[in-house]
Amino acid sequence: MRKRLSSFLITLGEMSLLFWQILIGVVRSPWRGKSILDQMVQIGINTLPVTSIMAIFTGMVLAVQTYHKFRQFELESWVGSVVATSVTRELGPVLTAIVVAGRCGSSTAAELGTMKVTEQIDALKTLAVDPIRFLVIPRFLAAIVMLPLLTVFTDFVAILGGYLMGVFRFGIRSSLYIDATTNWLDPEDILSGLTKALFFGIIIIVVSCQRGLDAQGGAEGVGRATTSAVVISSIFILVSDYFLTLMLP
C-alpha cells in the first residue's frame, strides 16, 4: 500500500513537472502549425461521430427522465431549461472529456509509449530535438482549442436530442420548448462548461503524455500505460469537475 502510494505521488510529481515543461515550451518555442492541425483533426474532427451519438442520446434520456418527474407537478414546459442547463454546465464538458480521454488519451499514450519502448524518443534526443516540444506541445495546444469546441458541439447536439424528445415524443409545443431553453440558459452556464472543458483538455494531454513517455518493458508496458492513461484521466476529470463546479460561478 505504501509502495503504491509513493509510486502514485511520484507519477503526480512527474505530471506536474511535465505540465511546467509544456508551459515553458509553449511560451519559448515556435509552434509547429502542421502538427497542431493534425492533432486538432485527431482530437476534434475524428471524435465528432462518437460525441454526436453520445450527445444526442444523453439529451434524449435527460428529456425523458425530466419529463416524467416534471409532469407530476405540471411543469412539462420546463424540460428544455433543465436539459440545457444540465448539458451546458455539466454533462456536455464531462462526457466529451471522458470520450476524448478514451479515444485520444489512449491513442496518445499508446503512440508515445511505443515510441519510448522502441527507442524513438531516445533517437529524437540524439538528433537534438526535444520530445516535449516535438510531440507533446502540439497535442496540448490542439486539446485546449478542440475540447471547448467539441463541448459546444456536444451541447448543441444534446439540446437538440432533448428538443426532439420533448416536442415529438411528449408533445410539448416547439416554441414553448425553445423559449424555456433560451430564456433560462445564461451565458455563465455556457462559459462555466467551456472553462471546465479547457481544464479537462489539459488533464487528458498531460496524463496521457506522461503515461506514454514513462512506458517501460515492451508491449505489456505500452498496454499498462494506455490503460492507466484512460483510468487516471477519467478520475482526474471527475474529481476536478467537483472542485471546478464549486469555484466557477
Partner: protein, 249 residues
C-alpha cells in the same frame, strides 16, 4: 576524444555499471563486448547524455557532460550519430523524412537540397529508390541501413552503434560490418560499437574492451584479446557454456 571516468549507474537495487573507466581515441573504432544485460547499451546512453550516471564523469572533447543541462547537452549531441538496436526509425515518417529529419529540424536547407542530401546519404549506405517507403515496409537489414543514413546525416564526429548486427542474417551482418569500416574511412569517424557478435568484433575493431559485472575487465587490440589469459574473456570470445562467466551467474 571520449574519456569515461569511474562511471556508476544502478536501477533500484541492481548496480549495472560499477566504476567504468575507458578512453576512446579520435578516429579509432572501439568495440565494447560483454554478455546481454551487462550494461553496454546503458553505457552508450550515458555517453550521448540520454541517461545520467549516478556517479562519475564523461568528457567529450574535454567538456564534462554529466553536469550539463538539456539545452547544453543538445549541442554536445550534435557531435554524435547513434544507430539504435532496432533502428528506432520514426514509424510515422517515410524513409526520406527519417533520414532528412535532422536537416529539416536544424538547418534552413530547401526541400530540394534536403532531398539531394538524403539520396546521397542513402546511397552511401547502399540504398536507392527507397525514399518513399515507410519503415514498416523495410527488412531488418534495410532498417539498420536507413537508421545509419539518418545517423550520418548530422555529419557527426562520433558514431555510436548499439548491436548493429543483431537480428539480421550473416550475409547482411557482413554487409553492415563493411559499411561501418567504410564510413570510418570515408567520413573519418570515431566509432564506438557495442555488440556480442564476435564475428562483427574482429571485423571492425581497432581496440576491444570487455565489460563484465559493470566493470571493464580487459582492453586491447583484437590480437591481444584473442590471446588474453583472462578466463572470463576466453569463455566469452570462444562462446563456451562452461567457465567462470556461467559459474558466476
Amino acid at each position: 576524444m571520449i574519456t569515461i571516468s569511474n562511471l556508476w549507474r544502478g536501477f533500484n537495487k541492481n548496480q549495472v555499471l560499477r566504476g567504468v573507466t575507458l578512453t576512446i581515441e579520435e578516429g579509432e573504432t572501439m568495440v565494447i563486448i560483454g554478455r546481454s544485460g551487462c550494461g553496454k547499451s546503458i553505457l552508450l546512453k550515458q555517453i550521448v547524455g540520454i541517461m545520467k550516471p549516478d556517479k562519475g564523469e564523461i568528457f567529450i572533447d574535454g567538456v564534462e557532460i554529466t553536469s550539463l543541462n538539456e539545452k547544453e547537452l543538445s549541442q554536445v549531441r550534435l557531435k554524435f550519430g547513434m544507430l539504435f538496436q532496432g533502428g528506432a526509425l520514426f514509424d510515422s515518417m517515410t524513409v526520406a523524412e527519417n533520414v532528412g529529419f535532422y536537416l529539416s529540424e536544424h538547418t534552413k536547407l530547401s526541400k530540394e537540397e534536403i532531398s539531394l542530401r538524403v539520396k546521397e546519404r542513402l546511397s552511401l549506405v547502399g540504398l536507392e529508390g527507397v525514399e518513399h517507403l515507410m519503415p514498416a515496409e523495410l527488412s531488418g537489414g534495410m532498417r539498420k541501413r536507413v537508421a545509419l543514413a539518418r545517423a550520418i546525416c548530422t555529419n557527426p564526429k562520433v558514431l555510436l552503434y548499439d548491436e548493429p548486427t543483431t537480428g539480421i542474417d550473416p550475409v547482411m551482418s557482413a554487409g553492415i560490418n563493411r559499411l561501418i569500416r567504410k564510413l570510418q574511412h570515408e567520413l573519418n569517424l570515431t566509432s564506438l560499437v557495442v555488440t556480442h557478435d564476435m564475428a562483427c568484433v574482429y571485423d571492425i575493431a581497432d581496440r576491444i574492451a570487455m565489460l563484465h559485472k559493470g566493470e571493464i575487465i580487459e582492453i586491447g587490440t583484437p590480437q591481444e584479446i584473442r590471446s588474453s589469459p583472462n578466463p572470463i574473456v576466453q569463455q566469452f570470445i570462444i562462446g563456451s557454456s562452461e567457465g567462470p562467466i556461467t559459474g558466476d551467474s
